[in-house]
Symmetry: C2
Subunit: 192 residues, 2 copies
């Protein structure tokens, strides 16, 4: 259940098995079935979650009822609404399983305690968040500079196989176009 987390942490910092065993005690394993929600808008985001297996998405619903996907959470990724998790305020995001998933959950109090007992993890999380920030800045700038078609092909090369795991209308709502537009882009691409 904890293999992926251990691998991921060992990729960035040096941590003893003993320390990791201690870290494990702060997490709560949870299985979440496809189409079930870990977080619904209006509720506070109580958990930050590590995806050991499966696939999640975090998304918002705007005034017109359209979904906008912030993140796909694949194996080895962390998913949460950070702002709500840190402040305890109601979240504007939903987090839903797109496949039957195995998660490791941690609450804010546990996370605080984990970091104070194993300060070496500050570094792990700093680097994790740092990489996430770089990727998000990149996505932001690309949304301003490149066309929807380029964003689509970029997504496919960044997450190979995603189009087999995620319905197209969700891919559309990740790259920021309607399902109709993505459908048209795809037919253009396939006719050269």
């Amino acid at each position: 259940m904890f293999e992926f987390l251990q691998n991921k942490i060992n990729d960035t910092i040096i941590i003893s098995d003993q320390e990791f065993e201690h870290a494990k005690t702060f997490f709560m394993p949870k299985k979440l079935r496809r189409k079930r929600f870990l977080l619904q808008e209006g509720d506070p985001c109580v958990y930050t979650c590590f995806v050991e297996k499966g696939l999640l998405r975090s998304f918002r619903i705007d005034d017109k009822g359209n979904e906008h996907i912030l993140q796909f959470g694949m194996q080895g990724w962390w998913v949460a609404d950070l702002y709500s998790f840190l402040t305890g305020e109601a979240s504007e995001y939903n987090i839903e399983a797109l496949e039957d998933s195995e998660l490791l959950l941690i609450t804010k109090p546990s996370w605080d305690q984990l970091l104070s007992e194993l300060p070496v993890l500050e570094r792990y999380f700093r680097i994790l968040i740092q990489n996430n920030l770089i990727a998000t800045q990149n996505r932001l700038m690309r949304n301003m500079t490149i066309t929807a078609e380029q964003r689509y092909t970029n997504l496919l090369s960044e997450f190979p196989g995603i189009s087999q795991r995620v319905p197209q209308h969700m891919i559309a709502s990740y790259i920021g176009v309607t399902r109709e537009t993505l459908s048209r882009l795809r037919s253009q691409i396939s006719h050269q």
Copy 2:
């Protein structure tokens, strides 16, 4: 020269004066005059910079020659192209002073050493980057959901006084529209 940095760090972590005095030795003060560049695209981003005074912007230029602003760096903010700074690869960003500015620069080797000698700063940077990530995710989602007009009024309320310090075409390139569009939005707003 270091007052703002010390304040900012003390806002998030507990650090002794002694430790801060040691930290100071890793930074290089620099004055950068208006319209001068700290980083030009094609060069690696050698420094991460803390703005003690003044105003910077980081921006990209796309294929058509249009500028897109990633960040305004006001007093108390950190500015860099993180990816290039961490990897040493050529940057696609420019960093320019919009006002005569006083900066504190730190190189990658110094930063690594600083963090290993004062690991308490891991926490400071983790929280700093965390807040930056939240803000960037927010901006990304808002670019997908709300209109250019709302983004403009949001910007004005988030950075009061920015329209006095930054020319309008740069505000346009921050919110992701052309100068012409922003001009028209503004005239609509002022005629109710």
